[in-house]
């Protein structure tokens, strides 16, 4: 059986997505465990230099489909190209970013190739597994919180050749090699097909992400426990005072306190700042998955049994709407 690990390299206007290199970093370890090769699949237009970048993350081969018609992601041609590649090579694992593109593309490929696919994994491991009294060697363990975060499920796909998973940006660490490996570029011709043109892109508007949560060294984050949008302003006040970025839990985003691009957690951004202040956040597993590796965590919550305290370094039991102004006052005094 083929033991290769493939990573779909996502590009937007020719620029690679961070998540793809993060997945190469993880994929390299998975490939080592499997004694297989790490390969990058690059689809786009003028993507040769992009393909070479993957060698810096350990890809030993880049499968490149380079054609002007593939400049921008479109579901049908991209999935068709990838389906053909997967069917002819049968890699053991294919990883996708859980971005809009990855979540559009991966299920289509999995459907056609009848592969297993697990969305939004928070960890991936290789292990031999006993399932229904049968031993399966070197399966991909696809680990993700499930059911509103009340459980952590390990998913396996024992009976299929190709195991697929999507992972959010920031979940895996970006680990470039000190020196790029000597990789091989394999060009694969693109044969146009009429059905590829069934959807046309009329316009595209993209802004560089203004919010940089991933790079922030201090994050002040608010949850549903802030109570109101007015109270949530305190999060902004504190963040601007101590030079931090504002973030929120999914509940705070759903309540309209903060925009979705600032959501920390399994379905948002994963962060590892020096300081994370969680205000009025109970700490569901999905949220903790996105911030538990922060260097120092301060939890402020009215409920002393809130799970957030389980991973906090400092805990304050109280109403964040009252604690934050106190913190701000004391801090201002000390700065004088």
């Amino acid at each position: 059986m083929n033991k290769d690990v493939w990573v779909f390299i996502e590009q937007r206007n020719g620029k690679p997505a961070d998540v793809s290199f993060e997945l190469l970093s993880k994929g390299r370890k998975l490939a080592e465990n499997l004694h297989g090769e790490l390969k990058a699949v690059v689809i786009g237009s003028n993507v040769k230099s992009l393909a070479e970048e993957t060698f810096r993350f350990g890809a030993s081969e880049a499968l490149v489909i380079d054609h002007p018609a593939l400049e921008h992601f479109r579901t049908i041609p991209y999935s068709r190209v990838l389906i053909e590649l997967v069917e002819s090579h049968k890699p053991r694992i294919v990883l996708f970013g859980a971005s809009v593109i990855g979540r559009d593309l991966a299920p289509r490929v999995a459907s056609h190739t009848k592969s297993g696919l697990t969305a939004d994994c928070t960890d991936l491991q290789i292990s031999t597994v006993k399932y229904l009294k049968k031993d399966y060697e070197d399966l991909l363990l696809q680990i993700r919180p499930a059911f509103g975060g009340n459980i952590i499920a390990t998913i396996i796909t024992p009976e299929v050749e190709v195991q697929m998973a999507t992972v959010r940006e920031g979940v895996m660490r970006l680990e470039p090699l000190p020196q790029a490996v000597k990789g091989k570029i394999t060009n694969i011709p693109y044969l146009q097909n009429e059905f590829d043109e069934v959807i046309k892109i009329i316009e595209q508007h993209r802004q560089e992400n203004k919010v940089n949560l991933k790079g922030a060294s201090i994050i002040v984050s608010g949850g549903y426990g802030m109570g109101s949008k007015a109270n949530f302003k305190l999060i902004h006040d504190l963040a601007s005072l101590i030079g931090g970025e504002v973030a929120g839990s999914r509940a705070a985003v759903d309540a309209g306190f903060v925009t979705a691009d600032r959501q920390v957690g399994q379905t948002g951004v994963t962060v590892r700042p020096k300081l994370y202040i969680a205000c009025g956040i109970s700490g569901a597993i999905q949220h903790r998955a996105g911030m538990k590796e922060s260097n120092k965590i301060i939890a402020i919550n009215t409920d002393p049994d809130a799970p957030i305290f389980g991973i906090a370094h400092y805990g304050v039991v109280g109403d964040a709407a009252q604690i934050i102004p106190m913190f701000i006052n004391v801090f201002k005094q000390k700065l004088r």
Binding site: D104, P107, S115, A119, P145, N150, I151, I156, I199, Y314
Partner: protein, 294 residues
């Protein structure tokens, strides 16, 4: 225009209380309130708007256990013309691949459609996979993450959809499968008149229940009676759809749950800080000592 809308009854995972969790850490699904997945409701709203503007028909379908008929009645309250329950014990344990197989075969049987709508994802799994997988099996294009339908022509649709860091406008030929984001529209309230009319709509399974222990009721007659009153919710089983059993339910699902762990809360190793000024002073000093602040 004929739109088929995929809807799902989901456990209300946002409101899980203590009694829902079993002692071994697994979830007691029976204790969870079942609700209409919100993004699917938005999908139905978009389909109804097309019908309002251009005429045609809206068919709501769901795959699920017998009690999923509740969401189908809600679809009828909202304005769907027809509702179809796809239910069979053999569908139990289906992952997204097996689900999309069943749904795509049901859609083929219903046939003659211009649009298939669905929510982007369901809150119990958040996978967003069933829509694209169904489109693939139908051999039709898909537009996911829809924010707005801009224009519909006889053979095409123009849609604004979210992309990473922005949006794009796509034009697709019909038929097409569209998955929608929650802000794409605001679902209309139920009309009292429709609630009165359709609260008695029943699936075949529910009618069979009525006949149990009642020798005066015959299922075929009952079904005919409900059909004539337009209160029959079409009910399809694996055999009705002539499905391959190996591709349904747990057998047709490549993904298996290997292990489930309840979320163990690590004992609090944290340092307690008093919720007052003195406490804040201590906390800030510590952060300054560590060169995190100041």
């Amino acid at each position: 225009m004929h739109s088929i809308v995929l809807v799902k009854q989901v456990p209300d995972t946002a409101n899980i209380s203590g009694q829902v969790m079993k002692e071994d850490g697994t979830v007691n699904r029976a204790k969870l309130p079942a609700i209409f997945n919100h993004e699917d409701r938005v999908a139905l709203e978009l389909a109804l708007q097309i019908k309002d503007k251009l005429g045609g028909k809206v068919t709501a379908i769901t795959m699920g256990p017998p009690r999923a008929s509740d969401v189908l009645r809600e679809c009828l309250f909202m304005g769907a013309d027809e509702a179809v329950l796809i239910s069979d014990r053999k569908f139990a344990g289906a992952d997204t691949l097996a689900t999309s197989y069943v749904l795509s075969e049901a859609i083929k049987k219903i046939g003659d459609y211009d649009f298939v709508f669905a929510g982007r994802q369901a809150i119990d799994g958040d996978t967003a996979q069933v829509g694209p997988q169904t489109a693939e099996k139908l051999g039709i294009p898909q537009i996911t993450y829809t924010e707005e339908i801009l224009e519909i022509k006889e053979n095409s649709v123009k849609i604004k959809r979210k992309i990473d860091g922005g949006y794009e406008i796509l034009e697709s030929a019909l038929p097409v499968l569209i998955t929608v984001l929650k802000d794409a529209s605001f679902p209309r309230p139920y009309k009292a008149k429709r609630i009165m009319a359709y609260k008695n709509a029943r699936t075949l399974i529910e009618l069979e229940k009525l006949t149990e222990g009642n020798s005066l009721l015959y299922i075929d007659q009952l079904k005919e009676e409900y059909q004539s009153k337009k209160l029959y919710i079409q009910t399809l089983t694996m055999d009705d759809l002539k499905l391959d059993e190996a591709r349904c339910g747990v057998h047709g699902s490549p993904t298996k749950v290997h292990k489930i762990e309840s979320v163990v809360l690590a004992g609090g190793n944290h340092e307690m800080i008093a919720p007052d000024k003195a406490g804040m002073s201590i906390l800030i000093d510590k952060l300054m000592e560590d060169h995190i602040l100041g």
